[in-house]
């Protein structure tokens, strides 16, 4: 075992400043796989690491390996637009996303790692009469669910975001659904913070370790075969987003998922001009300003299956064209980067957190376009599901909902913009 992890603190910064920063430790230790673990989690992204963390913190299970094919947080955890909100229409969604949002509020203290959570407020613009009615309904639903949101007027929108043109000819702003306690956080730091905390509890994070087979015995999971040898386990958690279908195939079952690219782009950095997150679902665009000053813009998904991590150009064009009408000042901005992430989408646009048909195997996938905001809630609920066999947060998100027709239909409320 290595020396125990030192806590990050103002004192530590002062101490290291006096000795040329020679005392900083690795955030998490390198590990080689053991022969056997109580729990193996496949996928070291936000959701996988959060699951491992809450298994350790809430249930005392620390004999855990987290396997990652590439590098930690290198999938959609590092490719999203970092928006955090919980203004969902359906009760099960509101419960898990609100749990996640509330955990984000104290995450930096909890993990002793600055995830830069900024509760700057999230605004979802209503730009058609239909949306006005839809968001008023969501605001009422949120009031019953205990999620603090309100429907605000166009004038209030203008006060909060002075750079917005609310009188656009094609997309006038008629009001907005406003969640003042939503916001954003540093996406990489969320993965790194959880990884550090997991490592400190003695869990093994094994990168560049690809799972090639799931081994079973008598209808029960026995372990996995990886590029670094066989690893046995009591329970197996598959948390691999876009690759869930391939892993489910290895475990002998199928998932109701399709993978499509979702695009985002980032502008050159400019001075602070917008201190809330704005989402415009009619035009499939959303925008916020990062701490570096870049405008972070999210677009829509392609309509066809693809694993290419790049999307069709015309989607970006549509997003930017509409945003330029709403924010005329961005028309002169140069865009620095654009990229795509592969999102796994289910039939009802809600995630799957479920026991798998194979005993001892659990799946957490299907977060589609909105996984980042859910990381702590998903980890919390999925850890409980893995430890106890059921959880009030995940019960409604089981695989059997597709056979039984109990959908959690968020496709209207949240299908595109997250």
């Amino acid at each position: 075992m290595q020396t125990p992890l030192k806590r990050y603190s103002a004192f530590a910064i002062a101490r290291e400043a006096l000795r040329d920063h020679t005392g900083w430790q690795r955030a998490w230790r390198k590990a080689q796989p053991k022969k056997r673990y109580d729990v193996v989690i496949v996928g070291a992204g936000g959701h996988g690491l959060a699951t491992a963390y809450y298994l350790g913190k809430n249930f005392g299970i620390t004999n855990i390996a987290i396997l990652e094919k590439g590098w930690l947080g290198g999938g959609n955890t590092g490719r999203n637009t970092t928006i955090i909100r919980s203004n969902y229409l359906q009760d099960p969604s509101a419960a898990i996303y609100e749990k996640a949002r509330s955990l984000y509020e104290t995450m930096s203290q909890d993990l002793n790692y600055n995830v830069m959570f900024s509760p700057r407020g999230v605004m979802m613009l209503a730009q058609t009469e239909h949306e006005v009615r839809g968001y008023q309904r969501t605001a009422h639903a949120n009031a019953l669910q205990g999620v603090a949101t309100e429907f605000i007027s166009a004038q209030r929108v203008k006060e909060l975001v002075p750079i917005m043109n609310i009188n656009g000819p094609r997309y006038p702003v008629l009001g907005a659904l406003w969640q003042p306690r939503g916001g954003s956080a540093r996406h990489d730091a969320v993965a790194w913070g959880y990884a550090r905390a997991c490592s400190a509890m003695g869990m093994d994070i094994i990168q560049k370790c690809e799972v090639t087979a799931v081994r079973q015995e008598g209808g029960k999971v026995k372990g996995v075969t990886t590029s670094k040898g066989d690893i046995d386990c009591e329970k197996l958690g598959l948390v691999v987003a876009g690759h869930s279908g391939a892993l489910a195939d290895m475990a002998g079952f199928r998932l109701p998922l399709e993978s499509v690219p979702l695009q985002a782009l980032v502008s050159e950095p400019i001075k602070p001009c917008m201190d809330v997150v704005v989402m415009a679902n009619t035009v499939h665009g959303y925008m916020s300003q990062s701490d570096k000053g870049e405008m972070v813009i999210g677009g829509g998904t392609d309509a066809f299956n693809s694993y290419t991590q790049r999307g069709s150009f015309h989607h970006l064009e549509e997003t930017v064209r509409a945003l330029v009408e709403t924010f005329p000042m961005i028309s002169r901005l140069k865009m620095l980067r654009h990229w795509g992430g592969i999102v796994d989408v289910t039939g009802d646009r809600s995630p799957i957190l479920s026991k798998a048909p194979l005993e001892g195997c659990f799946v957490n996938c299907g977060w589609g376009t909105g996984g980042f905001k859910a990381i702590p809630g998903s980890g919390w609920g999925f850890a409980e599901l893995m430890a106890r066999g059921q959880s009030p947060l995940t019960d409604e998100f089981g695989l059997n909902r597709f056979t039984e027709g109990r959908f959690i239909d968020e496709s209207v409320a949240a299908g595109v913009a997250h």
Partner: protein, 109 residues
């Protein structure tokens, strides 16, 4: 930009002229089927990394539905063919085999 040739009108259409219709060659289950069969028909999809057969509609053109064979990892198009069939034509299968020896897709190969 994805470009598919409509097998009906012969137009080389780019994707803004088309509408994607999801996986092709689904076996349709209706009344009298089991819950699992019906769920599979409605929700379970191949979602492969590689060769994918799918439905498209030439919506801003002739308006007809057709099928396409495409790779989901490279966006390479192996060909388009009529929707009035239950499996891809042999020439498209051969073309895929030339690029991806040993490929399979459900019971096709």
């Amino acid at each position: 930009m994805l470009i598919l040739e409509c097998p009906y009108c012969g137009v080389k259409a780019e994707e803004t002229e088309l509408t994607a219709g999801g996986e092709a060659h689904l076996k349709r289950y209706g009344p009298g089927s089991s819950d699992d069969e019906f769920e599979g028909y409605l929700f379970t999809r191949e979602n492969p990394m590689g060769v994918h057969f799918e439905r498209w509609r030439h919506s801003n053109g002739c308006g007809k539905w057709f099928h396409a064979a495409r790779s989901t990892t490279t966006l390479e198009v192996f060909g388009t063919y009529s929707a009035q069939t239950t499996e891809p034509p042999q020439e498209i299968k051969d073309k895929i085999s030339a690029r991806h020896p040993g490929w399979s897709w459900r019971d096709q190969s």
